[in-house]
Chain length 293, copies 6
């Protein structure tokens, strides 16, 4: 169960409203790198967490923090839109740079929200919850969270570099710091679970004896010229210390697949009822036509 | 540029076709944990790779391998569907368990493909490319890839445990092994780039001096009772060794946000034109009605 | 900014876990009638609220309550899945009705979450935020909220009627009661804003003198036989008391639209370069072919 | 069954084609506030209408009118695009304001349609039919329709205020008038069904004695400081006249949820097999590793 | 502008309601092969039709017919649902086959519509208008329409073969016949435009002299073993009679692509700032860390 | 199984990077007319191909070519973005035309990819695999492929006309040529299968004797004024030579549909429990209210 105080976690201040930057900020709200995603992701991971209770508590706690980030960014969008042009007439009468503002805006900030944030990305594509990764496997989820906070911090840094509004830079410096912590936090959770090696391969509950072990530490080469991009992955001890990396040419172990011919009542063409073509083919067609008359 | 030989990377054999398992396999083709996703994800990461060329080559190479996994799984779906019922009549005439097969199937395997795979998940939701994570930041991408291979292996293990068909178990033991390797591979790439610590925080090209550093290693507590789920994240040295974790109560640093009243031509209600309600409110409404007459 | 205590707003108890009902419950989490929708909808309405502050506070307050409903329902899903079959083998060994459970389940409850809730509907379609209606117009939003709580209560009633588990019936009786209150609450907010009539037509800030008033209270009849379904809408005083309803035959006031021919470099067929067809047409094609050689 | 005469319901005239406004108009075609939505929504409500036939007839009749609005707006889009620039060269050669037209356009108006309308919104996001609300409950549907016509009229007003083209203003004054009528119409339908109170709570076919009645008229307060935004909803008689509103502090009635540990074959980490962490945890991991060798 | 008479184009009769078949029929309503798609596709092609007016008229006319098919199929769905089970209790009390009905149903037919059709496919995925193909090129559109009617008739045939209800078979025999006609109709339109050859390549308004003509009639072989699937496409006169088909080995004409290194403020990792890796790499990282302190 | 050499099928050269054109190119990558679509479409058609093996081989071969086109276009996008502005400051300092570049760009090219391609269209809408048409019917699929290559070539021509960069024009002249060939190739495949007539109606395996033959070659007129757009489709021999086209007035053969009243536990309003309204209606409501008390 949740509570609020209606206040902002960190001050949100806009000195020079910029409707174009409002659109950029949308990516941090409803983009795949954004705050709706992490809030819901940590929440659903918590709701489905099986195992030691502390992970559930921690996930729920940070999900709750992220809700406040949606609030901060939505406020930032609304403030950046305060002076946005509402008509083509205003646009023309404005100064040279102002004249192009309407082009750079998300028009739905005028048409659909009346100068407020949307739960969408910078292109107006609504966030969809298929991006809420909650696998029921804590280690897989922790890496999903490191990923979310990495792409989230990359985005926040790009927004920071894009704007020169001191208020916006201040707000983003806070969000960047929180992303730093959250990267640390999810990596710390893996450590708390015994460390990266102990958790590999994910899921670590499946006996490795049942996998086709001869292919478990081999870098497969698919370059037609046989070349191989060498690196830490192509030789030396594996990351879990249980084997040596090798680099092997990938060759087909299977044949060309061969499906049964189409069944008569399956809606295929008559010609698909046998596996070979040519003469049999035309006979098939004639038969089908005859049958139809 | 790409080539093929039309053969399967690994043999795909189905002893007892099971249309219901065909539907489950769809998750590994078009689900967010599936092979279309990794094939396209590694491909787009390669296409946009800036920096040392070997990472591009490696990404492209493994993307090419993943294309063959889509092929294997699609073949497995088609083979599992070979004897699927095409009508309610067949269903009734079948044995007790067979009678329920039609219920468990993806009906689009009959209606839309004529007994073949779809680029969709186990619920028939088509894969959409918003799940192709290619951020332009190699470290963020590597963690995205570890995540993809972790949730991919979790899925493959669940499919392995679900079926008792020896052919399917064999195929899945191969895919599970490849997921093991690919988890290793992306972690090895991070090592190749200098190791996890060197790459933190992601992006490591942004000067940490510009972030609000006092919040960068603090676990914020949002529990109303002040409790704290203790763990590796709440105390001790940070994962990057540059600070100590602390656990602090989260308190609002900002005020309640206050937006300007609605503008007259913005399509809001007349009552929204001032920030306060009560008496002024009714006056506003009366004015609006008057103006309308 | 938000807080939590990690506890459930109302007890969630499942006496006889039913994985099929778990799938039904998903509609109340990630369906368009569900709780993610109302939580985010009230939140974004609050974040963008312009005008008297109390509406913002009230919206944010109830958004916060709805977050707890997602938590309750997700817990209910997880509990209904506790004994779900994980393989076809278990299924066969089970009793007659149990044997069909796997067919009725959302397979992603096994494959993607390891027996936990998804932010998706009963068909596994993920919630997408285009359903978060926050128009910047308070009256339009209040009706959107009445709608959400109406379809939400309809859904909760159907779930209540579907199950015979006492624990689930108890939880749903609570959610149904809350939906009752929330229907009241949004209607009360309209009253608080001056009442339904004062707020019509929405938006009430646009001078009705500027609309084509002769069509503003007319029921247009599009039945080819001229019939008219009579009701409160076809005669008598209008709902806002400002006019009388009439029922008029709809006749086209405009002509057939006529667009300019296709421009030569617009990627159309050569035949589309004039408005008339027949002889000129073939000449066009010949010319195009000639030009191409 | 349907008929057409190929003519426009109301004249569509564009004096100064504006490709940027063409993009804005898309919101009224394929946006969630747009005409495809209402046409299909009223249609599906009619197709599934159970109960008195007149509601079905009325819904179908107005659905048919809305189809003509899609036609009008699509024509308006095409006419606004007649002189759109097709290349960057044209853009540069144009006058100062004309030079930015290509930036403001929906590029798919060039690339995908050859200067015609798309069934998408102002950001190019295609309309999707999850927005067709047809619940099988007439009262819920009527409120959904009031909502659709409210957000539709808000949008039309914003478009009216955005343009200064007399032809477009004329067309929009007609559509705004029709939205006025349709708001009236759906409210009239509720009156026709016995009035707002008789229809509450929706669905009114569920015995209120079965809901947890002590929570049915209570405003739950989730503000941590105990404050309460007072209004018509927090005290006084309820809107249906059956109770008094109260405002109560929301406290958890349930405990922290507690799920069973992860099952061994469910693809979780080994560490999730018990509810407690610490020492048992490492033992678990060691066991899992041992089992794997 | 459109009209209706509220009657069905063809009788819809269900002798033995089958909720599972109701779900299958959904594919013909909201599937990519379904009737919403063709209705809207022909409509938008008409709305944007440039060139001879008769094509617009014909498209609009048939779009109007298709609207009636949505009506027929939606009625068929509702009738197939009349006796559907609404609860698990009913299910258990039913006969052996009836007991599994609830598993095969689209649960949203109960939960979301109260036993009526959805604008979604057989898996409950809502139709989305990205499938409305209207390219502004009449020939491309005609082939899109042939495709839509081909996959539509394939689907109708599969539904016909799936059911043994005489009423449903009768309705489908009508829809199948209409699909036959519409396949003919769109092919006839291509003939009307001068025939298949005259219209190739589409668009025929682009001078073929400007394309890289040496690659215009060559079958490129991408099989690593050099094999070639021979057929009408690999030798002999081209379909437009303007050239001979050849089959050539595909070899890269370009080099490995080489992008510039990442820019310093672009949010990449520091390691991506140069094109080469190894020693320079570590220096980069150290520099970045230093800069951060 | 697949291979690569990491080289481009055709050289990709950009003389004057244009971030706005980069956005336009996205349509050819992730648009419905784009290369991800054809690559996956031909691939899934191959994976599910039943019947003569040569069609599978040919489809797989060309799918493999199309993968290389995604690579070419993604490289073109990245090269067009090399000098893109990363901040509003750069924008202002640039020249007049450069000042508007940021408005015309896809902002996610900065925010989400760091100057590289997305698997999305020109409006940033991600490609979704519902557009991968693979019906299990070879003839339907061939027409789907002709459609894809037609709209693909229309798009490529529009891009060619839009740019004046010699490198981009060169690349597009190659892609246009390949689209020419692929249109030929799929039409040749139909010829290889016996020709267009032999394959009609699709599917040709369904006995035409079972369709409602009297409606199979009739153009149904839905114009209220009885007019008819005459053309090849309204008279003369049918395209398959088996009948004569006729043009008949469309009249309803069915009645108004009549569904059963709403069931008591189906979540409808009480008023929907009978088919007639008026007096009975109010009685119903009163009863419902009574029952609730």
């Amino acid at each position: 169960m949740f509570y609020t105080d209606g206040k902002l976690q960190y001050p949100v201040r806009v000195e020079r409203p910029n409707p174009h930057f409002a659109r950029a900020l949308q990516q941090a709200i409803g983009g795949v790198e954004g705050e709706i995603r992490v809030a819901l992701q940590y929440m659903f991971q918590a709701f489905g967490a099986r195992g030691p209770a502390k992970y559930r508590d921690m996930l729920l706690n940070t999900a709750t923090e992220e809700l406040g980030h949606i609030e901060m960014l939505s406020t930032a969008v609304a403030l950046n839109l305060e002076n946005a042009p509402l008509s083509f007439q205003e646009e023309v009468s404005a100064d040279a740079m102002g004249g192009v503002v309407l082009n750079g805006m998300d028009m739905r900030h005028i048409l659909s929200t009346g100068l407020a944030a949307l739960p969408s990305d910078a292109n107006g594509v609504p966030f969809d919850c298929s991006h809420v990764y909650a696998s029921g496997n804590l280690a897989a989820d922790m890496y999903a969270n490191v990923t979310a906070e990495s792409s989230g911090r990359v985005l926040a840094v790009r927004l920071y570099n894009m704007t020169d509004d001191p208020g916006m830079k201040d707000m983003l410096s806070f969000l960047i710091a929180r992303d730093t912590m959250h990267q640390q936090q999810w990596l710390a959770a893996i450590e708390d679970m015994g460390g990266a090696v102990e958790n590999l391969p994910i899921p670590n509950s499946f006996p490795q004896s049942q996998e086709a072990g001869e292919h478990s530490y081999a870098y497969f080469r698919h370059m037609v010229d046989g070349s191989i991009p060498e690196g830490r992955w192509s030789a030396g001890p594996s990351m879990d210390g249980r084997a040596e990396f090798t680099a092997v040419k990938s060759v087909p172990m299977g044949d060309k697949p061969s499906l049964a011919p189409a069944r008569p009542d399956g809606g295929a063409q008559a010609q698909q009822s046998s596996k070979s073509g040519t003469t049999g083919l035309l006979g098939k067609v004639e038969g089908a036509i005859e049958r139809n008359l």
